[in-house]
């Protein structure tokens, strides 16, 4: 019966997905004509008396091979977010949605057109959420680009769906190498039109490995992933680099993202003789690993290390995470970042709750800059060629909050600085943890 319950759900979701895809494809092909249909009739677009009815239509513009989006007089430029905004990882996505809103307010308008956040979809931090959310977004033919996803697992399907609908997607926190590149080779989930302002975990894994081996002086490490592309990519990068440094990976294992009983896997870790457990997973599984580690015989003195997925306000406050190390993106060194934090606190009533708000802000900003650069303006109307948007994003050279944002041919745009933090009894919240920095690495330190 339980299987049947799942089957029904899956069947319904698949049916909806089919409908959504069919709509999306149809819409993408007819983007220009659909826009013409709605805007060509004078008097329907603008309120009488306020704006002169424009006679410019989508037909006045030449669209490239990916089509384009026509924005009539008084119409808004639409963008979307696809972030983890519910569940155990809500901090990761909420933090970024807020940053996108700040960027949107800071930017104001593009050539006189308001920018509207037309969708705030939930990626659920899973591939299902990435699939459904991105299909919903691309079903609107006027959305130019998506800022998302929060989690690489959601990013894999979303990147494919969004780029196949000819739109662009820029993530502020996907870090898995599969989405862009590893060692100069395109990852299996790489798509043209996907970009990210977050670091690639090839860098983070190397930084974490170097810290453990050189600063902590530990040589025996167990890694735990949960099968998600982010966690697998990061543990793999860690393992390769740690072994290259001369360390030993005594156990490389995995748990289910929904598991709560971690004692069996921790017993295996104890049997393998690990001195440190590197578990770059998510909540709530991360809560249980940290909570149960000290209860398993043989792990009383083991060191725990997580990564940026756990570097959130809801995780570092847990009693069992005191003493843990975290790798994650640097607190941006720019003065503009301080202003952004002040604006964030002012607008949302609390300090940033995760580590990727600045990256999401930069992601939104490079999208706005690209749209502004390629927009073909005719009177009050504007036309955005989607091929030009992609090209403009690949040519991005932008001084952002996170540093110098320059995109390579695989869509990696970050200027990555990885820092290692420690959560102690003296760090009551996420801001304090991120201020308690033990080490900092840039790719040059890591031979990359």
């Amino acid at each position: 019966m339980t299987m049947r319950r799942h089957k029904y759900l899956i069947a319904v979701l698949l049916a909806l997905a089919l409908v959504a895809t069919a709509c999306a494809e149809g819409d993408a092909e007819t983007t220009t004509t659909a826009a013409t249909g709605t805007t060509a009739a004078p008097g329907t677009t603008a309120a009488p008396g306020t704006t002169e009815p424009s006679d410019v239509t989508a037909d006045d513009f030449e669209a490239g091979d990916l089509g384009g989006i026509f924005i009539g007089p008084g119409e808004a430029v639409k963008i979307a977010t696809l972030q983890a905004i519910s569940g155990a990882n809500a901090s990761l996505g909420t933090d970024q949605v807020r940053a996108v809103k700040l960027a949107l307010e800071d930017k104001g308008t593009i050539n006189g057109h308001e920018i509207r956040l037309a969708f705030e979809e939930d990626d659920l931090c899973r591939s299902e959420g990435g699939t459904i959310g991105s299909q919903r977004i691309v079903s609107d033919p006027d959305v130019v680009g998506v800022i998302g996803t929060s989690c690489s697992g959601a990013g894999v399907p979303a990147s494919k769906i969004v780029t196949e609908a000819n739109r662009v997607m820029i993530s502020g926190s996907n870090t898995s190498p599969v989405l862009t590149e590893a060692g100069g080779v395109a990852g299996p989930a790489w798509n043209e039109g996907y970009y990210r302002t977050a670091h690639n975990d090839a860098v983070q894994g190397a930084a974490a490995a170097k810290f453990v081996f050189e600063e902590l002086g530990l040589t025996k490490v167990a890694t735990i992933n949960d099968g998600d592309p982010y966690t697998q990519g990061l543990t793999t990068a860690f393992e390769v680099n740690f072994e290259a440094l001369g360390g030993e990976i005594v156990l490389s294992t995995a748990v289910g993202a929904d598991d709560s009983d971690m004692r069996p896997v921790l017993t295996e870790v104890a049997a393998a003789g690990a001195e440190l457990i590197f578990f770059p997973i998510f909540q709530p599984a991360g809560d249980f690993v940290a909570g149960q580690a000290k209860e398993v015989s043989g792990l009383e003195d083991v060191e725990l290390m997580g990564a940026d997925g756990l570097l959130s306000d809801t995780y570092v406050v847990l009693a069992q995470t005191k003493g843990m190390y975290f790798s994650g993106p640097a607190v941006p060194p720019t003065a503009a970042y301080q202003d952004m934090i002040a604006a964030y606190e002012d607008r949302f009533g609390e300090a940033p709750i995760q580590a990727f708000h600045a990256h999401a802000y930069d992601a939104a900003m490079i999208l706005f800059a690209a749209i502004e650069k390629v927009a073909q303006v005719n009177g009050d109307a504007m036309f955005i060629d989607l091929r030009d948007v992609r090209d403009a994003l690949y040519a991005t050279d932008y001084q952002g909050l996170t540093g110098h944002v320059v995109c390579n041919e695989f869509g990696d745009c970050a200027d990555p600085i990885i820092q290692i933090f420690q959560n102690t009894d003296d760090t009551p919240d996420i801001a304090a943890v991120r201020a308690n920095r033990l080490a900092e690495y840039v790719p040059a330190d890591l031979g990359q």
């Binding site: 569940g87 099968g227 490389s252 009983d261 017993t267 295996e268 709530p284």
Partner: protein, 358 residues
């Protein structure tokens, strides 16, 4: 068609089924034994670690068993699976969290651990019992007499309703119980160091289940429950209030889920609106494993399932050096279910039904 041909057909089909069973069974037994022997012989885990794994399994399993009581008792009386039972369990744990949090703020939580735990237990039980009774009144009683599929679908609807009601009321975030110093660390029981929280879980589960057994077997209410399970029409003719008895069955099942909710949070001190789903599915599995409708079966099924999950991956898969085998613990648990059902289609102890009712 004559009786003879029917008989012949049935006989040949039985033979094929038997053959299939024996082939699957022998392969499974060989696979399990070979894996286990290799795993144990490799000396990867010490005896103390195997023992710890078993204790973890029993603790986890006794919580499954408590939740499974609700499934099995409702099935025994109404012959349908109350899929919303996992949410009844979650509701107890969730409301318990708010009480625990308040006690912690008031400074009572670590000052008076026993009193605090009892309060949380009582609140959790009361909440779960009330939700179960309301559920019966609102969702199931109007459907009494409808085909069995109808209440089943309703229970799935009730399950989602409760999940998203709790999400709406208390938010989607995970709530962490405050840590309690008194239950950290280990006690030595029969020379074996066992985590205090697990001792409490296993001990309470045994006491509660023993109480339930006595209640069902020895009290008048228990007797009327058994009578209704046996045959509701005849029970009604004998002067038993069938509706009242069914409410009591839901109440007892809910109370068990409430106890399970409070005990679960001793071991896994977090709760969110979705926490009831997986334990609910596992407990349902445990009930089927032991023989649904059978209280002893649910106890045995719960503990077995906990053991399969805890020891199985390391014991069987570890022997074959499967990478990252701990991820596969659900595979092990459900394979065990399939194997048991192939040989005993009605579960380990068998369904305890007087007769098949329509």
């Amino acid at each position: 068609m004559t009786t003879a041909t029917v008989g012949k057909k049935r006989a040949s089909r039985l033979n094929f089924t038997n053959l299939f069973r024996w082939v699957v069974g022998s392969v499974a037994v060989v696979v399990i034994f070979y894996g286990s022997i290799k795993s144990v012989a490799s000396g990867r885990l010490s005896w103390a670690q195997w023992r710890d794994l078993m204790v973890f399994g029993v603790a986890q399993g006794s919580v499954y068993a408590l939740i499974a009581m609700g499934y099995t008792m409702v099935y025994g009386v109404l012959r349908f699976i109350n899929f919303a039972h996992g949410e009844v369990f979650m509701s107890g744990a969730m409301i318990g969290y708010f009480v625990a949090d308040a006690l912690n703020r008031a400074g009572i939580w670590n000052e008076q651990p026993v009193v605090s735990l009892l309060i949380v237990l009582l609140v959790s039980m009361t909440t779960a019992t009330s939700i179960a009774v309301i559920l019966e009144r609102v969702a199931y009683r109007p459907l009494r007499g409808a085909p069995r599929l109808i209440p089943l679908i309703t229970s799935i609807g009730a399950s989602f309703t409760l999940q998203y009601l709790f999400r709406g009321l208390f938010g989607a975030g995970t709530k962490a119980y405050p840590p309690m110093a008194a239950i950290q660390g280990k006690w030595i029981i029969f020379g074996i160091p066992i985590l205090k929280s697990q001792v409490i879980v296993i001990g309470s589960a045994i006491v509660v289940m023993a109480g339930l057994y006595l209640f069902v077997e020895k009290t008048k209410t228990g007797r009327s429950m058994r009578a209704v399970a046996e045959d509701p029409e005849t029970a009604a003719l004998m002067g038993i209030n069938v509706d009242g008895t069914i409410v009591k069955v839901f109440a007892v099942g809910g109370a068990m889920a409430g106890v399970a909710g409070a005990l679960w949070t001793l071991v896994f001190p977090t709760v969110n609106f979705f926490s009831g789903f997986l334990p609910g599915i596992k407990a349902f599995t445990a009930a089927v494993l032991g023989g649904i409708g059978n209280i002893f079966g649910a106890m045995l099924g719960g503990v077995s399932l906990g053991m399969f999950e805890s020891v199985g991956p390391s014991l069987v898969l570890g022997g074959y050096e499967v990478p990252a085998f701990n991820q596969l613990k659900d595979v092990v648990a459900f394979s065990a279910l399939v194997l048991v059902l192939i040989f005993r289609p009605t579960g380990i102890l068998g369904e305890r039904l007087a007769q098949e009712r329509g």
